[in-house]
Symmetry: C2
Subunit: 416 residues, 2 copies
């Protein structure tokens, strides 16, 4: 080790992901081993991602973490599991420029600082823990010079948050449930990268909710213990859907993709309802969005848009292409216009070019939108949606080499 | 037959029923044969029933029917099936007093008039077709002197509306799915009469809804065709629940009764959600009512109230006894007070003595209700519930011999 105080830092950026074949139910609570395979699409980190800086220094006297600028406890088992697993894989590090040398055996005694930042609201139910744990594990692995590939790292991220394992890759990703009791074969693999199906466009409706949702950890446990339908789903329904979904993705068969995505989202929420006490993640606004998409898809004869909902009321809508996304946004803005005190610029965020394509520049254009012809007596209701995010499938984790993007100070190792 | 024009009339009253183990899915669409057994409780006809007068006269030149005073078409297959089946069982009728003699063979040529009236809003989603078809079949059978018992009649009512077969008895009723292809063994039997478990109190919350619901006929068909969970439910889950529910009813085991009733309602709605396109019968208000009951039941350690929802957002709440019903009404009126323009007298209807027991005489008493301690941050929202009906388990069909209660004129056979 160098003699004078030093700080070594790594900054990484990791995307969120949304499952199109859902993960719901653990067969092992501690190792986070699922009852079925799942498949997700990674979302463009330009609009939804976590940035994490990890730092090590001989001057640090304990492991510390800051999330969105606020210090949080690292004492939870899930953080400790990830830290322990990465430390066990640490290797020699030599930074000639800075004159730092860390031997493999030193990592056990060294402490780390972690700063993490989401470029989207943490509380909005947009899989922040998935991106967060993926980024933590990825950044720590690079800091500690662990040689494991992203699939091997995914099995560690999995122990922080199940769905985090799928954020180690871009494009479409499969989390293989595995069979081993120690969970070593329960990891993510990339099915196709983000360039394979690049015409897809994703619009997320962040839905207002009066209720606090059941945490997915609690919900899953209750479902495993009480739902008589979950076992049937995991054993009989999902395996077939996984095969069909892989084929639909490989061949870019949007019709099959949409049918499977919608059916699997609905079945996951059906299992939640079959749980005792029942869990309701979708609300009336979620139902209206589904109804809007279903009616349009039916009127077109072939699906234009797939919908999927995680453990909350937000809709993730995957449009076949840019044209479908443009029409979808028009329909959504007709049914869910912004409140009078919201400006359009903060109501549709992310890739705003979709808004431009839709011919919508200001509130007058929103007001002038025609009612979707396929919806009888289409009603407009303000205040049911907080905002929309326009995005697309995106890439996996990357290292940010530009030190100005680091969240920790290069000399103190404390938040900037 | 008598020579001068005559009218022979029969008036009957038949209750509605609510399933506690649900019927969802037909294996034969025309005969209305279900995919599983179901069990219901009959509701007190004093608060929810259909009254039907059927008349026959040699002067009638066609079959006609009036529902709630308005003539409706009898051309539908379901009406025709019921009429045909009862006509096939008609026997000789002799009314010495009126000098009427109708021979068995005459019934084929004679026409009937039918007038039917619900003592509750038809559109409120309170099983009006169940009470309606049960009453039609029961009244026609008496008019035509058919010798069949109520179970045999239930197999005919079933062909009008599946759940109608369960309205031929009071108390708790089981609809046996049967095995025969012609449906002759798919009929209702009484498990226990209404006196067996007479401490139960039922409160129905008629919930406001912005949406038109999917008809249960369409919904069931879609579920049978598309839900991968329905088959598992019908084959693996329901048979066991039927046995357990029969036992719970026989032994008046409220804890098991409530657990089974709630779980089966939730599973039925889970199957609806697993249907393509998904069907949502419950809305945010329904969810809030469930949450309210679940929290209370949990805080008490043992269930006080069971909930069940049919193909709509209305909650049917079955309280263990009068004390539980009184507390339930207080909690409901706290969470769902009447709108400013609604008076309490029309907001809580049916057996108003529950309201009195709850110490609520006017709006001031409603406003003074304490928040349920088991609900954190309990919110009060006006306008989500249209009204509450307080009732209890009730008796089966009866004949009304008092001619003043007939809905048709004794001389003309036309609506009074």
């Amino acid at each position: 080790m160098a003699e004078k105080p030093w700080v070594r830092m790594v900054t990484a950026q990791t995307p969120t992901n949304i499952a199109v074949i859902k993960y719901w139910g653990k067969r092992d609570e501690t190792l986070i081993l699922p009852v079925n395979d799942s498949i997700s699409v990674t979302l463009d980190p330009a609009h939804l991602c976590t940035t994490t800086t990890v730092a090590v220094s001989s001057s640090f006297d304990q492991d510390r973490m800051w999330l969105n600028g606020k210090e949080i406890s690292l004492s939870g088992g899930r953080f400790q599991n990830c830290l322990r697993e990465i430390r066990a894989r640490a290797c020699d590090v030599e930074d000639e420029e800075k004159g730092i040398k860390i031997a493999k055996k030193d990592w056990e005694k060294l402490h780390v600082h972690i700063a993490s930042f989401n470029n989207f609201p943490t509380a909005a139910g947009l899989a922040s823990s998935a991106a967060g744990f993926a980024c933590l594990v990825f950044a720590l692995a690079k800091l500690m010079n662990a040689k494991e590939d992203n699939s091997e790292l995914s099995a560690i991220a999995r122990q922080g948050s199940g769905s985090a394992c799928r954020s180690l890759f871009g494009g479409f990703v499969k989390w293989i449930m595995g069979k081993a009791e120690d969970g070593r074969d329960s990891l993510a693999v990339q099915l196709v990268d983000e360039k394979h199906w690049d015409e897809l466009v994703i619009i997320i409706a962040v839905v207002c909710s009066r209720q606090k949702e059941t945490s997915s950890t609690t919900g899953m446990r209750d479902s495993v213990e009480t739902s008589l339908l979950l076992k049937h789903r995991a054993k009989e329904v999902v395996p077939k859907r996984i095969t069909e979904m892989e084929e639909a993705i490989k061949t870019r068969d949007f019709e099959s993709f949409a049918q499977l995505t919608c059916a699997d989202s609905n079945q996951f929420h059906a299992v939640c309802l079959d749980t005792c006490p029942p869990i309701f993640y979708m609300n009336d606004t979620s139902h209206r969005i589904i109804s809007c998409v279903e009616k349009w898809n039916r009127s077109e004869g072939t699906p234009q848009v797939a919908y999927t909902f995680d453990a909350g009321p937000n809709a993730v809508l995957i449009a076949h292409n840019r044209k479908a996304a443009t029409q979808l946004l028009q329909k959504l803005l007709f049914c869910f216009p912004p409140s009078s005190d919201t400006d359009l610029n903060s109501y549709v965020i992310g890739d705003k070019s979709i808004l431009k394509d839709a011919g919508i520049e200001d509130m007058k254009d929103v007001e002038a939108l025609p009612p979707p012809p396929e919806i009888k007596d289409a009603q407009r209701s303000k205040g049911d949606v907080s905002y929309f995010i326009c995005t697309k499938p995106g890439r996996g984790p990357v290292l940010l080499s530009d030190e100005s993007q680091a969240l920790l100070h290069p000399e103190t190792g404390l938040p900037k």
